[in-house]
């Protein structure tokens, strides 16, 4: 009899039955996938960022395809926490009762906005296993630069949010200055880090001489991000003791395995969900097969198991 590898991991207090999570913004509020796959097979899902008040997001075009990936400037369109909780809450509550943890992403333009969104989440979404603070979205034009792009800015948001709740709090990091900012976030009490958000990029239509998006820049997703994300996960895992959620270009179980070897406790599937709504469960199966091939009893033995 083949003894199954234990796939359960503890992501900063969120007990996941396996390491597969979904990347915020690529999995809607979960129920969009309900007829396309069995969402309850996943370890966790992370919902699209929501702010205290509704945000309209950016004008069209919001997406451009690039070689090996895509670029978006959705601009965190969201209905606000109250409408989110009312519309999607019941389904998410049910999902969490089936053993798939729900992590809700928190958006804001300022420390105050993060805090008030988080307060609303804590009140209206008791079923949430934890919250991910998106200090890194490259689309928010808060003076042009996201709060999360300096250790001070990211630390400020984390400090303020930490006062709001004892539930697990994670931070979705921008792909910049990882070691420094990761240490600042750990110092302010983050329970884990999601590394990385989409990478700011630019694509120009050379015939019209205009950006392919309604904004000059957008956030890059997909396989093109993956080797950069693996490096950043490794940097983060070496910099801090809190667990890491690896995000960026996971299309296969091997991509997920690279994150785990580099030091990630869990792994989020992003753009792959959009290309193939069943990608996350396929990746889970591939990851499990890889763990078995490595002759371990527990996937936790493989976290950070890169030899170098």
């Amino acid at each position: 009899m083949v003894i199954k590898v234990n796939m359960a991991v503890d992501f900063g207090g969120v007990k996941m039955k396996n390491p597969i999570n979904t990347a915020s913004g690529t999995f809607g509020y979960g129920w969009q996938f309900s007829e396309l796959m069995d969402v309850s097979q996943l370890g966790a899902i992370t919902t699209k960022g929501c702010a205290a008040e509704p945000w309209p997001g950016n004008p069209a075009p919001r997406m451009a395809e690039v070689r090996g990936g895509m670029m978006n400037s959705v601009g965190l369109q969201n209905p606000g926490v109250a409408a989110f909780a009312a519309q999607s809450g019941p389904w998410l509550d049910e999902l969490s009762q089936k053993g798939t943890q729900v992590i809700c992403q928190v958006a804001g333009h300022s420390t105050e906005e993060y805090v008030s969104a988080l307060e609303m989440f804590c009140e209206l979404c008791p079923w949430a296993a934890g919250f991910e603070i998106n200090v890194s979205c490259p689309n928010i034009a808060a003076g042009g630069i996201a709060c999360g792009s300096t250790p001070e800015g990211a630390g400020d948001v984390m400090r303020a949010c930490r006062k709001v709740t004892d539930k697990p709090l994670f931070v979705k990091m921008a792909p910049v200055r990882i070691p420094e900012i990761a240490r600042a976030l750990e110092a302010e009490g983050a329970d884990g880090l999601s590394v990385i958000n989409s990478i700011p990029g630019m694509a120009i239509d050379v015939h019209t001489r205009r950006s392919k998006l309604s904004k000059p820049t957008g956030g890059l997703s997909g396989p093109l991000c993956h080797p950069i994300a693996v490096r950043m996960v490794w940097e983060a895992a070496n910099a801090v003791d809190i667990p890491i959620n690896g995000v960026g270009g996971v299309m296969t179980g091997e991509d997920a395995a690279e994150f785990i070897l580099a030091g990630a406790t869990c792994v989020s599937v992003g753009m792959a969900n959009l290309v193939d709504p069943t990608a996350s469960v396929r990746i889970l199966a591939e990851l499990e097969a890889w763990a078995e091939s490595q002759g371990v009893n527990d996937i936790n033995e493989l976290i950070g198991a890169l030899e170098c």
Partner: protein
């Protein structure tokens, strides 16, 4: 929770894939479960193999669906790398699609006479509607526009679908009216008698048609294009600005009440 998209993952096989006009191809695919569930104005999101650097699917409307044969006919213009690759898919080759996506035309109860306006590769969803109107016994006239006679599609099919008038316009005057099809459409609308207008084509065209329809007091629907990533409501890349806020084209569209569209 809100209703998830009706789209499901389907395998499909190419039955035929042939040029029907300048730069325009007709693709017939076999996808039995899909064919019976498509409604005019909906779309499918096709994975076209052959370029590992290009990962997203291609959203396409359909021109007709045959539930009995289990086939769907799609007309597409070759405009870039992805549609070029699609044009190279041979009969017998297979891939997957997500569909049906979004919701289609909502012809008002008791509609007496409709005007359909299709420009360029916007013809297929309108043609599909024409056949539906015909089978429901609703009268309709059609305006079709194209860059030139060579690239025009649908005229025969509209006639075969028992259209009333079929007015043709070309940008270069090589067939029918010399100019945009918005002009004959505006004339017809000004003459009155239509209680429903359906349009698909370039945005400036649809915007004009919507304005003429509004002037004439006719309810107008337009099928909008947006850059789509998922096609089933998960990513919010396909937003259309409406008077009720941002609406995803893949869920709340691609067919929109034209009077509510703010940004075309």
């Amino acid at each position: 929770m809100p209703t998830p998209s009706p789209a499901r993952l389907h395998d499909f096989t190419v039955v035929s894939n042939e040029k029907i006009a300048d730069g325009v191809f007709s693709l017939v695919i076999s996808a039995p479960r899909l064919a019976g569930s498509l409604k005019p104005g909906q779309f499918v999101n096709l994975a076209v193999p052959g370029n590992a650097m290009s990962l997203l699917r291609i959203p396409l409307s359909f021109a007709s669906a045959d539930a009995d044969k289990g086939t769907v006919e799609i007309w597409y213009a070759v405009v870039g790398e992805g549609t070029e690759r699609l044009s190279q898919m041979q009969p017998g080759s297979t891939s997957t699609l997500l569909g049906p996506g979004g919701h289609g035309w909502t012809v008002p109860e008791g509609c007496k006479k409709a005007l359909l306006v299709g420009g360029g590769i916007g013809v297929p969803p309108v043609l599909c509607l024409a056949r539906d109107l015909a089978s429901s016994g609703i009268a309709f006239d059609v305006c079709v526009g194209a860059a030139s006679a060579d690239s025009m599609v649908g005229v025969e099919e509209f006639n075969a679908a028992a259209a009333g008038k079929v007015l043709v316009a070309t940008d270069d005057g090589s067939a029918g009216y010399h100019g945009f099809c918005t002009d004959p459409a505006a004339e017809l609308l000004a003459a009155g008698g239509y209680d429903y207008v359906a349009t698909c084509g370039p945005s400036p065209m649809m915007k004009k048609v919507a304005a003429s329809a509004a002037d004439a007091g006719a309810f107008c629907e337009a099928s909008l294009e947006r850059m789509m990533s998922c096609g089933f409501g998960a990513c919010a890349t396909c937003a259309v600005e409406t008077v009720d806020g941002m609406k995803g084209a893949c869920m709340c569209g691609p067919v929109f009440d034209a009077s509510k569209v703010v940004a075309w």
